[in-house]
C-alpha cells in the first residue's frame, strides 16, 4: 500500500514536471495537485503505520517532502509571480524516488527523546526550508549577468526559506536543551546545519549588484551542496557517533 502510493505520487509529480517542460502549465498544475493529494494519503498511511507523526526516519521525511512543495510553489508564485511548477514537481519526484529505494521499517516506533512538542515543527521547518533552498538553486544555475531576473527569483525563494531554516536550527537547540541537557552538543548533523545556515546568511549579506552576481551564484550552489551533505551524506557515514542516528 505504502509503495503503491509512493509510486503513484512519483508518477504524477514526474508527469507534472514533464507537462510543465512541454509548455502545458494548466495540465502540469493539475497533475501536481493530484500528486499532492496522493502524497497526503501517503502521509496518513505512514502515520497510521508508525502510530505517531511520521518524521522519524529518512523515508518518512522524503515522503513528507512533496507535501510541503505545493504550498511552497503557491507561496513563491504569490510572492514573486514566477511559475516554478516544473522545478517543484521535479524536486517532489526526486524525493519520492529516494523514498521508494528505502526499506519500509514498519516496526519503527518513536523513541522517548522524540516524544516532544518540538518534533513536528522542527522537522517540518527543515523539510520546507531545505526543499525551497534546493528549488532556489535551479533559477540561480540558469541565471546569467545579462538576465539577472532569475537570480531575483532565487533571492525571493531564499528569503522565504531562511526563517524556516532558522527555526529548524534554533528550535533544535531549544529542544536539545530539554532532552539532552545542553542546547548545543557539536553533533556532526547540527554542525553541518549551522554551516549550511551560515552560507545562506553570507548570501543574504552580499548586495544584489552586478559585481557581486558571481559570488551570490557560487554561494547558492555551495549552499545546495551543504544541504545535500547535511540532509543525506552525514547520515550514511560510518562511525560519526551522531546523536541524530534515528534520522537515518
Amino acid at each position: 500500500m505504502i509503495y503503491l502510493l509512493t509510486s503513484l505520487a512519483l508518477l504524477l509529480s514526474a508527469a507534472s514536471a514533464l507537462a510543465a517542460a512541454w509548455g502545458t502549465p494548466p495540465l502540469a498544475r493539475l497533475l501536481f495537485r493530484a500528486g499532492w493529494l496522493v502524497a497526503l494519503a501517503l502521509f496518513v498511511a505512514n502515520a497510521m503505520l508508525a502510530q505517531a507523526m511520521p518524521f522519524g526516519n529518512m523515508r518518512h521525511v522524503l515522503c513528507f517532502f512533496p507535501l510541503v512543495l505545493l504550498p511552497a510553489a503557491a507561496w513563491v508564485h504569490h510572492r514573486t509571480g514566477a511559475n516554478l511548477t516544473s522545478h517543484f514537481a521535479a524536486a517532489a519526484a526526486i524525493a519520492l524516488l529516494g523514498a521508494l529505494c528505502m526499506p519500509l521499517q514498519a516496526a519503527w516506533r518513536q523513541m522517548p527523546a522524540l516524544q516532544s512538542p518540538w518534533f513536528a515543527p522542527h522537522v517540518t521547518a527543515y523539510v520546507l526550508a531545505y526543499g525551497l533552498m534546493a528549488v532556489a538553486t535551479v533559477p540561480a544555475l540558469r541565471a546569467t549577468s545579462a538576465h539577472p531576473q532569475r537570480m531575483q527569483v532565487a533571492d525571493a525563494i531564499v528569503r522565504l526559506a531562511l526563517p524556516g531554516m532558522t527555526f529548524g536550527l534554533w528550535s533544535g537547540a531549544l529542544w536539545a536543551d530539554a532532552a539532552w541537557g545542553r542546547y548545543w552538543a557539536w553533533d556532526i548533523k547540527e554542525t553541518w546545519a549551522l554551516l549550511t545556515w551560515l552560507i545562506y546568511v553570507a548570501y543574504l549579506h552580499l548586495p544584489a549588484t552586478t559585481a557581486c552576481f558571481p559570488y551570490r551564484k557560487a554561494l547558492l550552489l555551495l549552499g545546495f551542496v551543504a544541504i545535500i551533505i547535511t540532509f543525506l551524506v552525514v547520515n550514511f557515514l560510518p562511525a560519526t557517533g551522531s546523536l541524530h542516528t534515528y534520522s537515518m
Binding site: A107, Q115, V153, G181, L195
Partner: protein
C-alpha cells in the same frame, strides 16, 4: 563592496572554515570547536553583530528598544499560554476536583493570550523591516553572551540513584572534588518504563561462539517465513526459564533460532520527591521527570538521561546542571527566530516576469 560587509563575510567565511575543520565527516577534528581560535572568532562575531545592530538601527534606537520590550512581553504571554494551557488540559483530563485547577489555569492562559495579542500588536506597529534586522543581530549577541557564560561557569554532574531506595541527594561533587549543596533534597521514589506492544521476530545463527542476528522474519497471519521459504507458526514459539521472550530452536545442520524481539521502549519516567524550603517553611513536592521534561529547582536542572536494570534494582541516571547563561542563550534563540521571520517575510517584494513553467 562596503568595508563592513567585507568584514562580515570574512568572519562568516572563517567560521565556516573552522566548522568544516571540525565537522568534516572522515578526518574532522571536533576539538577545534573549543579551541582558542573558535573562542576568539565567536567573540569577534558577537562584537561585529552588536555594532551592526547598533548601526542598522541608527536614528530609531529608542523605537527598537520599545519594540523589543513589546516582543518580550508578547513572548512571555505565549509562554504562559503554553505552560498554563497545557496544565489546564492535563488537570481537566484528571477530572473531579481538579476541574477547579483546570479553570484557574485556563484563565491564566487566557490572560497570556491577551498579553500576546496586545504586545504583539504594539511590536508589529513599532518594528519595521530594518529594525527586525537589527533585532536579529542583537539576538545573536545574546546567544553568544549566554554561550560564553555557560562555557565559563556551567556545571554538569552525572548522578546515578537507585529507584525506590531511601537514597537522598542533597549535595553534588564536581570534577575537581568540590562539594556543592543543592538547596533541596532529591529522592527517586519510583521508576516506570513502558514498551510498545509490537511483535517482531529475528532469525539468529550460532557462529564464532555466540548467537548472531541474521535477518528479520516477516510475519503474515501468524506464520513466519524463513529465508529458505520454509514457514513456521508463531504459536510454536515458547518461553523458558531465563528467556523472557518466546523462541524456537530450529532443526537442521546449523544451529538456528527464531526469537521474538524485545519491543522498543515507549517511555520511561522517574517519580521524584523534592524536599525544599519555601519562604523558610519545609515543602515537599512530587515531580515526574521524563526525557523531555527536566525538573527545575533552586537554579538546578535535573535531567533524566538513562536507566540500567541491575541486581539491586533500577539505577536511574540523572544529570544535574547549573547553566548561568542558559536563559540568555535561549532568549537569544527565540529572538533570532522571530526577528529573522519578520525581517525576511516582511521584506519588500518584487514581481518577476512570469516564466513559461
Amino acid at each position: 563592496m562596503r568595508r563592513s560587509i567585507t568584514i562580515t563575510l570574512m568572519l562568516i567565511g572563517a567560521a565556516c572554515v573552522l566548522l568544516l575543520a571540525g565537522g568534516f565527516p572522515l578526518m574532522g577534528a571536533p576539538a577545534v570547536y573549543r579551541s582558542g581560535a573558535m573562542m576568539l572568532l565567536g567573540l569577534l562575531a558577537a562584537v561585529a553583530c552588536a555594532v551592526a545592530g547598533w548601526r542598522i538601527a541608527a536614528g530609531e534606537r529608542l523605537r527598537l528598544l520599545g519594540g523589543l520590550i513589546c516582543v518580550f512581553f508578547a513572548c512571555a504571554g505565549l509562554a504562559a499560554v503554553w505552560q498554563f494551557g497545557s496544565q489546564a488540559v492535563e488537570m481537566a483530563r484528571l477530572g473531579g476536583p481538579m476541574w477547579f485547577g483546570a479553570v484557574g489555569m485556563g484563565c491564566t492562559s487566557i490572560v497570556g493570550m491577551l498579553f500576546t495579542g496586545l504586545f504583539g500588536f504594539f511590536a508589529k506597529r513599532a518594528m519595521h523591516s530594518r529594525l527586525w534586522l537589527a533585532g536579529a543581530h542583537w539576538a545573536l549577541v545574546l546567544i553568544a553572551a549566554g554561550a560564553y557564560l555557560d562555557y565559563c561557569g556551567e556545571l554538569r554532574i552525572p548522578i546515578t540513584m537507585t529507584a525506590g531506595s531511601t537514597e537522598k541527594l542533597s549535595e553534588v561533587r564536581t570534577a575537581d572534588g568540590t562539594t556543592l549543596p543543592l538547596g533541596f533534597t532529591l529522592t527517586v521514589e519510583q521508576f516506570e518504563m513502558t514498551r510498545y506492544d509490537t511483535r517482531s521476530y529475528t532469525l539468529h545463527r550460532f557462529a564464532q561462539g555466540r548467537w548472531q542476528a541474521v535477518c528479520p522474519l516477516p510475519e503474515s497471519a501468524g506464520t513466519l517465513t524463513l529465508p529458505d521459504g520454509k514457514q513456521v507458526k508463531v504459536a510454536e514459539l515458547r518461553t523458558a526459564p531465563g528467556m523472557p521472550h518466546p523462541f524456537l530452536l530450529l532443526q537442521g545442520e546449523a544451529a538456528q533460532l527464531i526469537m521474538q524481539d524485545v519491543p522498543p521502549v515507549r517511555e520511561y519516567k522517574a517519580l521524584c520527591r523534592v524536599d525544599t524550603l519555601y519562604r523558610g517553611r519545609p515543602e515537599t513536592r512530587r515531580v515526574t521527570i521524563k526525557v523531555n521534561e527536566p525538573l527545575s529547582c533552586k537554579g538546578w536542572m535535573v535531567y533524566l538521561m538513562n536507566y540500567r536494570d541491575t541486581a539491586t534494582g533500577t539505577q536511574v541516571e540523572l544529570l544535574m546542571r547549573r547553566a548561568p547563561g542558559r536563559l540568555l542563550a535561549l532568549a537569544g534563540m527565540v529572538g533570532l527566530i522571530l526577528c529573522c521571520a519578520f525581517w525576511c517575510w516582511g521584506h519588500s517584494t518584487f514581481t518577476a516576469p512570469a516564466s513559461k513553467s
